[in-house]
């Protein structure tokens, strides 16, 4: 077990280096000079050069990357935005709670939908509810998330005026420049984004849970449990669900991790100032530190969740734990 964790940890570090290097190289290769963008209108070549020196972009890429690594490891700093010299750390810290609210709330919502529906569908294949569920799944994975968001905000926001169409409110009370805040406002503003975000995933998870449960129901050990005289409920809870959920847990960890790096579409539709929005802004202004910062944050999320899920998986699955 210890050796297993150690191996995974080592691999996580390799992954991290690979992701950051590739990010750096790709954006270094982009023939856009950030210094020119940052130097203001109609800069003289000398001005551009000065800015480039100031930003560090006149150095070779490996030097910049080394500097980035050093700053990250020693100062825990992701650098400063080319566009406004604001610290990337603080930009990410400001955006992260929004994305976390969206993703965790959405995940809870979609699991609340997917678990009962998926299990019911598996137990009653081709029943009426199963057919409805499978049809909804197809629509859920075929509709564009942006469109789902727009439809929801048109119907529930504009027509029925139940929820706001746009914006985010801080959970812990209002902050400067915001007119709203506190848990109620937060919840009120998050309902539609959660729904939008959850639709696609709910569809996938219903299908995945249904398939897994159906497969597990056919396992020989389920028959053994029945042969012992276990009730159907006991068979489900003790023998089917746990085995069927193993892969689901892995997927869930990965999906949450990836979304924590920025739920770009939902954030854009509802004007939520999350990490996705931050990244998009960074990309459109070629703000390398912001781009790298968000990518690093997102990959760290993916990698550490991956690690966490691996360990969790090993803990629930004795075949790995004791291997």
């Amino acid at each position: 077990m210890i050796r297993y964790i150690f191996r995974r940890l080592l691999w996580a570090i390799v992954l991290f280096l690979a992701v950051t290097i590739v990010t750096y190289v790709i954006f270094y290769l982009i023939p856009v000079d950030p210094a020119r963008l940052a130097a203001g209108r109609n800069p003289t070549p000398q001005e551009v050069k000065n800015v480039a020196h100031y930003l560090g972009t006149d150095k070779p890429v490996y030097y910049q990357y080394g500097l980035f690594l050093k700053r990250l490891v020693i100062d825990h700093s992701l650098g400063y935005s080319f566009a406004n010299r604001q610290s990337v750390n603080s930009a990410i810290f400001a955006a992260a709670p929004v994305t976390i609210s969206l993703v965790l709330g959405g995940a809870i919502l979609w699991m609340f939908i997917a678990l009962p529906v998926g299990i019911y569908s598996a137990l009653h294949p081709r029943s009426r509810l199963d057919r409805v569920a499978m049809a909804s799944v197809l629509v859920g994975i075929s509709a564009h998330p942006v469109w789902i968001g727009l439809m929801l905000s048109y119907i529930f926001g504009f027509r029925l005026e139940l929820f706001p169409i746009q914006g985010y409110c801080n959970l812990k009370g209002s902050i400067a420049g915001q007119s709203c805040g506190g848990p109620i406002d937060w919840l009120y503003h998050m309902v539609l984004p959660w729904l939008t975000f959850a639709v696609l995933y709910a569809a996938f998870y219903v299908r995945m849970i249904r398939t897994n449960v159906m497969e597990t129901l056919n396992e020989d050990y389920v028959r053994t449990a029945r042969a012992k005289g276990a009730s159907e409920i006991r068979v489900m809870v003790q023998h089917v669900i746990r085995n069927a959920m193993l892969p689901v847990v892995t997927m869930l960890g990965m999906d949450i991790a990836i979304a924590l790096g920025g739920a770009v579409l939902t954030e854009t539709v509802f004007g939520l100032p999350g990490l996705g929005k931050l990244a998009i802004t960074g990309i459109s202004t070629f703000d390398l530190p912001i781009i790298v910062g968000t990518v690093v944050f997102a990959s760290v999320m993916v990698i550490s969740f991956n690690l966490l899920v691996d360990i969790l998986y090993a803990w629930v699955d004795p075949r790995i734990r004791l291997a």
Partner: protein, 342 residues
């Protein structure tokens, strides 16, 4: 070890793991009876047939219907139509409006934006973009995936480790962010490349970006398939007779992979349509003024509360097309793999 499965950055989950795909007669060559049986099963699946017809119809509408419609209506998809805007709101469906220069024209589905462009024509031309990009990107991505998966599965050992690790590394990237960044930068540069005028602006670069993100899933599936096929006698036999590796892969493994490739290509087209629309919606896809469904959606954001049609039409177009490809893919899977091992 916990594994991750992902097709494109837009789509979570997807099916977990792949086992053996149906192998026709089990011999070295996939028996002809297999395809006949598959076709018989496919014919029974009404939803899949309807979806197939829809896809064909859409293709015809996009590539032949669009220029015809443009001809009959007397204006193009990018033409600005004076009467297409009423009080800063695009007009609704079936409006006879002033097209400027004294002639009137019909906006079948209303206009799409504040410049009064024709929603109907833009949807038709957008279908062309969606289909071209999604299908070409799928061909690109699936070919890469099949090549990598076959090599990894066939050679195993070191090569397999490299390919698998590579896939794992790529999957640790925040892929959607990366695609957006690539589309915004490299893609932007390539937008004017049209492959000697075959394609309109932006298609090639979008295809490359999306294709680059569609190979992992096919690679995984094909690898698993090849791993199990490799152990089968007919591959051993082919090797004994002195076939080269390349030849074994081409003539003995690929025929068995055709089914899985068809199924996953169809499903990948569906996700790539969503992918293209997402990039265009975010403004890093097809350059304006050309129409794509994502562009239409992003324009709709401004006034969908006042004129909900403008968001309804592109949304439904995406929904039906993606749905058709998904249903077609499911139908093909049921037909080609009756044992349900996929």
């Amino acid at each position: 070890m916990a594994t991750q499965q992902r097709s494109t950055p837009l789509v979570p989950g997807a099916a977990a793991g792949a086992a053996d795909f149906a192998e026709g007669g089990g011999g070295g060559v996939v028996a002809r009876g297999y395809w006949e049986q598959a076709w018989r099963r496919f014919k029974r699946d009404r939803l899949a047939i309807v979806s197939g017809v829809f896809v064909v119809f859409l293709g015809l509408a996009a590539f032949i219907g669009a220029p015809l419609a443009q001809h009959w209506l007397g204006h193009g998809p990018n033409d600005l139509i004076k009467g297409g805007v009423d009080n800063f709101v695009p007009v609704g469906p079936w409006s006879h409006v002033d097209a400027g220069q004294g002639h009137r024209t019909l906006l079948v589905l209303g206009s799409s934006d504040l410049l009064g462009r024709d929603e109907f024509l833009r949807l038709l031309y957008g279908a062309r973009v969606s289909l071209e990009v999604a299908i070409l990107a799928t061909i690109l991505g699936v070919s890469m995936g099949v090549a990598l998966g076959t090599i990894a599965g066939f050679y195993g050992g070191f090569v397999d480790t490299i390919v698998s690790r590579l896939t794992e590394i790529v999957m640790a990237f925040p892929l959607l962010l990366f695609a957006i960044a690539l589309a915004a930068t490299v893609g932007d540069r390539l937008n004017s490349y049209t492959m000697f005028g075959i394609f309109q602006h932006g298609i090639v670069s979008l295809t490359l970006v999306i294709g680059l993100f569609s190979w992992f899933y096919p690679a995984r599936i094909v690898r698993a398939q090849v791993l199990s096929l490799r152990e089968k006698e007919f591959v051993e036999a082919a090797r004994m007779v002195g076939n080269s590796n390349l030849r074994i892969m081409r003539s003995h493994l690929l025929p068995h992979l055709v089914g899985v490739i068809i199924v996953y290509s169809t499903l990948t087209v569906a996700t790539n349509i969503l992918f293209e629309a997402a990039l265009s919606y975010l403004g890093v896809g097809l350059p304006l003024p050309d129409a794509s469904w994502g562009n239409l959606l992003s324009e709709a954001v401004q006034f969908y509360t006042l004129q909900p049609w403008v968001m309804l039409f592109p949304g439904l177009a995406i929904l039906f097309t993606t749905l058709a490809f998904n249903l077609l893919g499911d139908g093909l899977r049921d037909a080609l793999d009756p044992r349900g091992s996929l």
